[in-house]
Amino acid sequence: MSSDQAVTTASTPEEHFDAVIGSGRTIEPRDWMPDNYRSTMIRQIAQHAHSEVIGQQPEGNWITRAPSLRRKAILTAKVQDEAGHGLYLYSAAETLGISRDEMMEMLHSGRQKYSSIFNYPTLSWADVGAIGWLVDGAAITNQVMLTRTSYGPYARAMVRICKEESFHQRQGYEMMLTLANGTPEQKDMAQDALDRFWWPSLMMFGPPDADSVHTEQSMAWGIKLETNDDLRQRFVDMTVPQADFLGLEIPDPDLRWNSEREHYDYGEIDWDHFWEVVAGNGPCNRERIEHKVRAWDEGQWVREAALAHAAKKRDSETEGAR
């Protein structure tokens, strides 16, 4: 029996769901899905959306101090993209029956998380380059996989996002190139940014497979297609030659090519540190949420005014029609 037949002959909603996943097709918003699939999807998409939105802050920090109009225009466009990515993702999450306001509330109260990478400060201009190169590079590695994830609206949002992320990574690497080939001080600045962002970037892929509570179920449901460790390895293999080309050194004494595995071996990741940051004790956790809540609260009157204006316009149109 072909997988297509399996889908059409499924008699219960569960069988239909399993058959659609099994045949590599997507689950769509109005399909039946297990409650846990729905809540897992909401948690993951919301967390992803929140990451895009909070991710505007570390880079936005440098917009007013960008060293040239060219860099300023690029950085503004990139930060605007991050806002857009957040909106694509909120839109996808809403198809699962959660409201935008509920997600905002859960972010603000800490009940939903965002990626820990955005809890690190951007101390120098080179950090903007390192974020584009490493953080967006790591994000792309994960997101390319997610273009084939089993929930349709999420997969489609990912396609849109991946098209735009490539610009983000390339502009970051170009910045690093410029700095690495600049004055000794500029090269030091680039090295310092790499030193600080390397390990947090590796942590972006999440805990090791052995400790990842969601991986097994997420893979069975076609939400994830590759494991955290496999994605992390791919990122390391891709990035080491790029660092070599810059003439910068990755801050890992255990990093070396393993000709047997045909992959780079890398050192132990400090997972205790990772969990500390997840628990809210990173360098910028409080600052990020405080800033987000303030922006939301200060925008309240604008949202109310827009609704009042829309209502008034609607009323005058109805009167005009009489």
Binding site: Q80, R100, A306
Partner: protein
């Protein structure tokens, strides 16, 4: 195409389920180029149609993805029943397809 109307279990009004008390939800359709249909791209929240068009432009067309936008209130979309989709779309009528008819090679391409 089955339109994606966000809906909570048991809820009848997607707008209320979508964002109680906030901006209503609008579905966005983009015409990528002349000669093509408008295709669904996603949704935006906005107080009225005018600002929904502006928001859709900012969110979905930052890189010349389109030459035209349609905005539709999500509540105005009526969809087919996903549970009945096999009965609706699954029927086989092979004689409606050109390959159903076997013609001799001598006839040539048709």
């Amino acid at each position: 195409m089955v339109y994606e109307v966000p809906k909570k279990d048991g809820a009848t009004d997607p707008e209320v389920a979508g964002n109680p008390g906030g901006f209503p939800l609008w579905e966005v359709f983009i015409r990528a180029n002349r000669g093509l249909n408008h295709v669904h791209a996603g949704s935006v929240h906005a107080a009225d149609a005018e600002s929904a068009v502006q928001a859709a432009r900012d969110v979905y067309t930052r890189r010349s993805e389109g030459v035209s936008l349609w905005i539709v209130r999500s509540t105005e979309i009526h969809a087919s029943d996903p549970d009945g989709s096999d009965a609706w779309f699954g029927s086989e009528h092979p004689y409606r397809h050109p390959t159903f008819y076997e013609l001799p090679d001598e006839v040539g391409h048709m």
